[in-house]
Symmetry: C2
Subunit: 199 residues, 2 copies
């Protein structure tokens, strides 16, 4: 674990929105945020929870809220398809990339968010994931081989289980050491926590 962990699923609009803020908060405090894509569906199973959009009233509120927040922060919001989507391929690709180069992996994660929420590209398709990577100069064939590799598949499972063990039940979810913060709308509190060294 790092000093500042950012757990998310590429399928979470709230994670997309938070992804623009977490690194600058981290830098302000001389930290690096460790990005940790996981399979949120597995965390939902562990908690008996459901995807937001599947929940009556709450789902409608969430849809309205995503657009409202995107307008507020002047961010595009044009998801390629109804969420949740399959994010397995993108997450596996991230965990493969992170082994060689964490900065590149983070840029890839940002590109994946852009592809889905800005360019409306279907990142549930592994060919699209490979396209996004190839546009960054990552070897397309190597990536497609890697995401089929049992070692990489395992890595994502281990990361997801570790997240659940730490108490992750939604996304985005942050930890400052062991202190948990759930939701992009708690980034102000995480920032204050780092300022004060807790309270």
């Amino acid at each position: 674990m790092s000093e500042l962990d950012f757990y998310f699923d590429f399928s979470s609009p709230y994670a997309y929105l938070a992804s623009f803020q977490i690194d600058s908060i981290a830098e302000k405090h001389g930290l690096k945020a460790r990005w940790r894509p996981i399979m949120l569906g597995a965390a939902f199973k562990a908690t008996g929870n459901q995807a937001l959009v599947a929940q009556p009233l709450k789902g409608d509120y969430a849809k309205r809220d995503w657009e409202r927040q995107a307008r507020l922060y002047q961010l595009p919001f044009a998801p390629a398809k109804d969420i949740p989507i399959l994010t397995l391929h993108a997450a596996r690709a991230y965990w493969w990339l992170v082994e060689g180069n964490e900065e590149l992996a983070k840029l890839f994660a940002q590109a994946i968010f852009m592809a889905f929420y800005v360019q409306s590209r279907d990142i549930s398709d592994k060919e699209v994931v490979a396209d996004v990577a190839a546009e960054m100069g990552i070897n397309r064939t190597a990536l497609l081989l890697a995401i089929a590799d049992p070692m990489i598949k395992d890595r994502l499972i281990v990361e997801t289980n570790q997240a659940i063990d730490r108490g992750v039940f939604g996304a985005p979810f942050f930890f400052v050491k062991d202190e948990p913060f759930w939701g992009g709308d708690r980034l102000w509190m995480l920032d204050l926590w780092l300022d004060r060294g807790g309270w």
Copy 2:
């Protein structure tokens, strides 16, 4: 409906925490917040949701977070018993009082929050609800009669159903006219919404 509605259940620690902020935000904008206690359990049924504390991981997070927020805002946090508790009597008493005097009803609601979260008194007991009212000079016998009155019971049901019809699925829940804001941690956004007249 009023221009600024504050829906809550006395059993929600997040509503207790937000109750200290909503009126000053309202005043800043020349508004009065209309406090609307409801039966949150009924809203949970409508959405297939459960009490926070009943949800694995999320419940533990919430408990930790209530204490953390209370420390941050330097508010006492000593609930009389494990939540959720029965808040039917307190809510009915509120809706009886509001008919005669909305300001008195609000002071009573604040006193109920204090009784439960600060003085650790069991407000699920109607005798305790009557005690809290009596300490404010409200006629104890009249209150006990009122909360057994079918008209008052109906009022709470109507208010709760109206809340669900408007999309309320949790507490605290706010509306600026028809714009919904869920959670005490969205009060900053509600405030901004009022500042800008929406966006």
